[in-house]
């Protein structure tokens, strides 16, 4: 049971990190990025290709993170430009459809060009014992990285001027403009940041399971569900929802099997959304 719980937290932290990127972009500008999982996959593929070419692990990872950030910038400068010109629901819908198209372009290309590539980062050494439970070393390292990244994010949003400016746009875009914040620049910054976050998700996940070139869609959907359950625009909510759903998922998996556990997970998510459409920690509108 405790083992399940710990596994659930490991999974949940990754869910949380995954959802953080999606939730920020949505909260900031009403943009739903359905190519988010593909950002992670592109970063993963970049790392694999760099390592195949003989690059050592850490520079390769750095390259992957840079690729993620660059991708975010490219999204902002290209496909999202027409999206920014719309308002309200039309904006969400257009962003959803355009990024869905983009997701398919990326998915199709990667699975055509690199059908068998997958990122697997292995960390040597045996399992680590935590409160009497033996945990895979990779999972522990992945969780530590995730916690550190989430901590940095939290510090950025709470304590720095720029981080507060980001939150101000989420809270009230017009109010933010009136104090001198440029929402477009904030959006660009956050897209670059979510690109890096997606890359980090790819890296931490690959410490536990291989990240294949076709994993994009699954990552996006997980991120979206966690995001909605946590409350759109709330990073803390995303982390909380990630952990809750992660625990539900692993506990259910050990009792009813993987496939049906996914059903339970999804139903739990649906019920949460129906009871609280604003999510666990979302803004009530």
């Amino acid at each position: 049971m405790i083992a399940n719980l710990l596994d659930g937290i490991v999974l949940g932290l990754q869910f949380g990190l995954l959802a953080a990127g999606l939730t920020l972009v949505y909260g900031l500008g009403g943009v739903l990025n359905l190519a988010y999982g593909q950002m992670a996959v592109i970063s993963a593929t970049t790392i694999v290709l760099a390592m195949d070419a003989g690059m050592p692990v850490f520079p390769a990872i750095a390259l992957g993170l840079a690729a993620g950030g660059l991708l975010g910038l490219i999204f902002d400068l290209t496909i999202l430009r027409p999206v920014y010109q719309r308002q309200g629901e039309a904006r969400v819908l257009l962003s959803l459809l355009l990024t869905l198209g983009l997701a398919f372009v990326i998915d199709g290309y990667l699975s055509w060009k690199y059908p068998t590539k997958a990122l697997t980062l292995r960390i040597g050494g045996g399992p680590i014992e935590i409160i009497g439970v033996r945990m895979v070393r990779g999972a522990v390292v992945a969780s530590i990285i995730t916690v550190v990244v989430l901590g940095v994010l939290l510090f950025f949003f709470r304590k720095t001027t720029l981080g507060r400016a980001v939150r101000s746009v989420i809270e009230d875009e017009e109010g933010a403009r009136l104090v001198g914040v440029d929402p477009r620049r904030i959006m660009r910054l956050i897209l670059v940041m979510t690109g890096v976050l997606a890359a980090l998700v790819a890296v931490t996940r690959s410490l536990v399971v291989p990240v294949s070139t076709t994993a994009g869609f699954e990552l996006t959907v997980s991120a979206m569900i966690v995001t909605v359950v946590g409350g759109l625009g709330s990073v803390a909510g995303a982390v909380l929802a990630g952990i809750v759903l992660g625990i539900i998922s692993t506990v259910a998996a050990s009792t009813v099997g993987t496939v049906l556990s996914l059903v339970i997970l999804l139903v739990a998510a649906a019920v949460t959304i129906l009871i609280r459409p604003s999510g666990l920690l979302g803004v009530r509108e």
Binding site: T161, R164, A165, R167, S168, E171, D172, E174, G175, A176, R177, L178, V179, G180, V181, D182, P183, V283
Partner: protein
């Protein structure tokens, strides 16, 4: 300081204000009075670049602001307190104030100045803005505007939703600011308060300026007395 000429602006349904012009000199307190729907908010939104005018110019110390985005205008020394306040509800009072100084960091002396003016904000500095009372939120909105150390403070109906006593208090605070040399432009429906506060004023009716004059002139104008002061 601020000179607006020939502004026509509106939304898809049509023009809300037509050929509106007014000016604010440094150190003045100027009011724009008008009833609900006269176009006061539209006028201010146009000045702040939140709404593009179809014609006209908005000049801040000679520089045309039309076409400049709101965040740039805000950084040029105009602070705007909208009627709906536009605070950041899930952030603390202190964080709201800090953002007022964006992109800079909040300056301690300015912050102390705001707390001097509104001691309540000092008590509530760790409280989330969304959970504060209407009066406190109004103080916070003005306080946030002051954090940028503006040259010109524009307020749109600062007494909206406030009880008469709180409304009078709000104007006392504005009085203090004016005495310190801040230029203030205020739109108001509660005309007696605004008349007592300002040097000059304009009457906005159905989207056009119908009268202009010193506060004393306007207070003596029979039309103004009938329409806005309830005196026949």
């Amino acid at each position: 300081m601020l000179e607006v000429t020939g502004i026509t602006a509106g939304y898809q349904g049509g023009d809300v204000i037509r050929d509106v012009g007014f000016r604010v000199e440094p150190g003045e307190a100027v009011m724009i009075i008008g009833s609900n729907g006269a176009g006061k908010t539209t006028l201010f939104r146009t000045v702040l670049g939140l709404l593009p005018p179809s014609t006209g110019t908005v000049k801040l110390q000679g520089e045309d602001l039309v076409g400049i985005s709101t965040h740039r205008i805000a950084r040029k020394g105009i602070a705007f307190v909208p009627a709906e306040r536009r605070l950041f509800p899930r952030m603390t009072a202190e964080e709201n104030l800090a953002l007022g100084a964006y992109p800079g960091r909040p300056d301690t002396a300015t912050l102390e100045g705001v707390f001097d003016l509104f001691p309540r904000l000092s008590e509530r500095r760790r409280q989330r803005a969304g959970t504060m009372s209407g009066g406190e939120q109004q103080m916070l909105a003005v306080g946030r505007a002051l954090m940028s150390r503006p040259r010109l403070l524009i307020l749109d109906e600062p007494t909206t939703g406030l009880a008469p006593k709180l409304a009078a208090e709000a104007y006392r605070a504005l009085e203090v600011l004016r005495e310190r040399g801040l230029t203030v432009l205020v739109a108001e429906q509660q005309v007696p308060l605004a008349l007592a506060f300002s040097n000059r004023g304009y009457v906005l009716e159905n989207g056009s300026i119908s009268k202009a004059g010193t506060s004393a002139e306007l207070a003596g104008d029979p039309d103004v007395r009938r329409a806005y002061l309830g005196v026949s």
